[in-house]
Amino acid sequence: MKAMHHRQSIWLPVIFLLAAATALILMPAAAGARNIKVGIIDCYSGPAAVYGNDALNGFKLALKDINRKGVLGKKIEFTTRDTKFKVDLALSMARELVMREDVDVLVGTINSGAAMAVSESIAKRQKVPFIVWISKSERITGEKGHRYVFSTGENTAMAGKAGGLALSHKPYKRYWIAGDDYEYGHAIANAAWRNLSTARPSVVKIGESWWKPGEPDLIPYITSILTADPDAVIFCTGGRSMTNIMKAIKATGMAEKMPIWIHTATDHAVLKPLGAEAPEGVMGTMDYHFYYPDISANRNFVNKFMKEYGNPPGFPAFHGYITAYYIAEAFRKAGEVDKERFIDALEGLKINSPAGPIEMRACDHQVILPMYLGETEYSPEHKVVISSDIVTLRGSEVMPSCSDIIEARGQ
């Protein structure tokens, strides 16, 4: 009797588990005439989640309009996976989307390591188009680019060139470079310095400092830069380090002592939480502002976005929005749901965006976006610090040429 009881108590859960597993495996993936499926791998946890959520909101907003009309008589549906900023999770989740969900297009991610891993190990090998929408490494569509990977965001080469060219018109001579000690920081620094020193050979770099990404206390770094007293400073930080550096600049009054350029210093996601604590007079570059360019397409997009989510779109939302339109337009142009024809259609495709007409460059699969250079200044209208005196650098000015790309890829 006792033995019977024991037997039951082990086998019941085991049988239950086996049954559950079988049900899971045999669950039909999708049958019959199906919609167009987009698989999104991105980071929805941790400090990067703010960007992942924003991009997803922009994407969802665009799909609402797109699906009203439909694409090739179908709807576009999507499913998301949270990679938690981990490369191994991004890989296994992307594989799950491709092998189990059978998605037509992969989209993601903010982590450039993950973007490159998925691009090389999954998109290229399994021949699935992969659109990178936030991650800014220039290598994704540069030296590591290939037929199956696209980018709908700006990258470090564009940002660095924009900053470098802007600074080359200024009289400063002695520069200090500092930033997050990872690929993004160094890539921006290299691109900026390369362009700056080419355009203005008299500049000298008097020192560099690099901190670990996310370093909470940046005061010692700023103190040592102030001690060295350069003519101007280039900070190469991203994500949450942006808030930390802006706070440290404000606390030490650094912006009043020397000119500073930081890519994304004018990012609303950074400036808004800081409120009145955001330093003024910092030069920054961005590829999108909800208040600039002040054209009807942008106003419409911003109004719709505000109505839906209660806050204005950031640059990731803009990328998400144009990604959805690129996917829809490319399938319409391809005339059928086929991955190879989708890629052919997407190459060189021109669409209208909130920031005006944009083009997906055929040679490197990088979307051509302008860069907006501005300086942080308090805006009584928006009640936060925004970018002012904006100068637009056209995409053709800030992007590496197609011949540079071909050379980088070693073809």
């Binding site: 929805y44 946890s45 941790g46 400090p47 989640a49 703010v50 992942g52 959520n53 500092a178 000690d181 008097i206 020192g207 560099e208 400092s209 690099w210 901190w211 670990k212 996310g214 370093e215 909470p216 206390d217 005061i219 010692p220 770094y221 103190t223 040592s224 102030l226 001690t227 060295a228 949450r240 942006m242 808030t243 930390n244 706070k247 440290a248 606390a251 030490t252 009054g253 650094m254 996601a269 950074v270 939480p273 800081l274 409120g275 009145a276 604590e277």
Partner: protein
Amino acid sequence: MEWSETYTAAALGSHLLVGLSRAMILFIVTSGLSFVLGVLRVPNVAHGSLYMIGAFAAFSIVNVLGGGAPAFWAALLLAPLIVAAVSLVAERALFCHLYEREHLMLLLFTFALMLILGDLVKMVWGADYRSIMAPEFLRGSVPVFGSPFPKYNLFLLVVGPVVAVGLWLFSSRTRIGKIARAAAVDREMVGAVGINVSWVFAFAFVLGCFLAGLGGALVAPTVSVTLGMDHDIIIEAFLIVTIGGLGNMWGAMVGSLIFGVTQSFGVLFWPQFAIVFPYVAVVIVLTLRPKGLLKSVW
């Protein structure tokens, strides 16, 4: 550039102060961790999560009360209390049933707690970056040794020693503090003289977590309050209590000072290697003193 030009006495002095102020935050967080390690013998991996909750709670309190100095002081007081309440619930509902278990099982429990608290913070506060402002009189900077030194960091330089002295008075002068210290050395003995050890442990755990929350609330005005703060601090905190001597509060102070000051001077002398300073410090200390710098209860 000449050495003497960059590394003047003034520059060294201001870097020392910057390092010390960072050490104060580290000390407040790690003294709590060390206390739990000493009394309960539990490596509390969730300590970083409680620090993060402290920062987020401070943000909410300042927001609800509409900013200004009173809101800031209220946040400094209430945020750690909220954290203490969370930890009390976790301790009484779950943790207290596990004290007889293997140490590594307790580690597993605190790891599970870290996973849960991390997601709960995301559910409650969302993923946006948050930021709170220090009150008016602590904003901006004052010149110290010729460099601008943030007033808030000066404030930290005052708070740190106050907390240290308070903790010392508490553990050497109050009855419950003495019992906790005795329980750290010999828990059977404390039980044998008729003291409810379970409540002593609960108290120690909650106090440790209160300090984590206080650290989070204090650091909030200087950084972006965001998810992932838990991961950022936890390894550093463990390394500090290890080199100081596990369970020794003054060890946490020494370890924090070493970390804060080496980081600050390291930035001045070898900025390109900043990422490895804490690890190198630990390797050197533990190679020379395998049980940490000060006497450990482990």
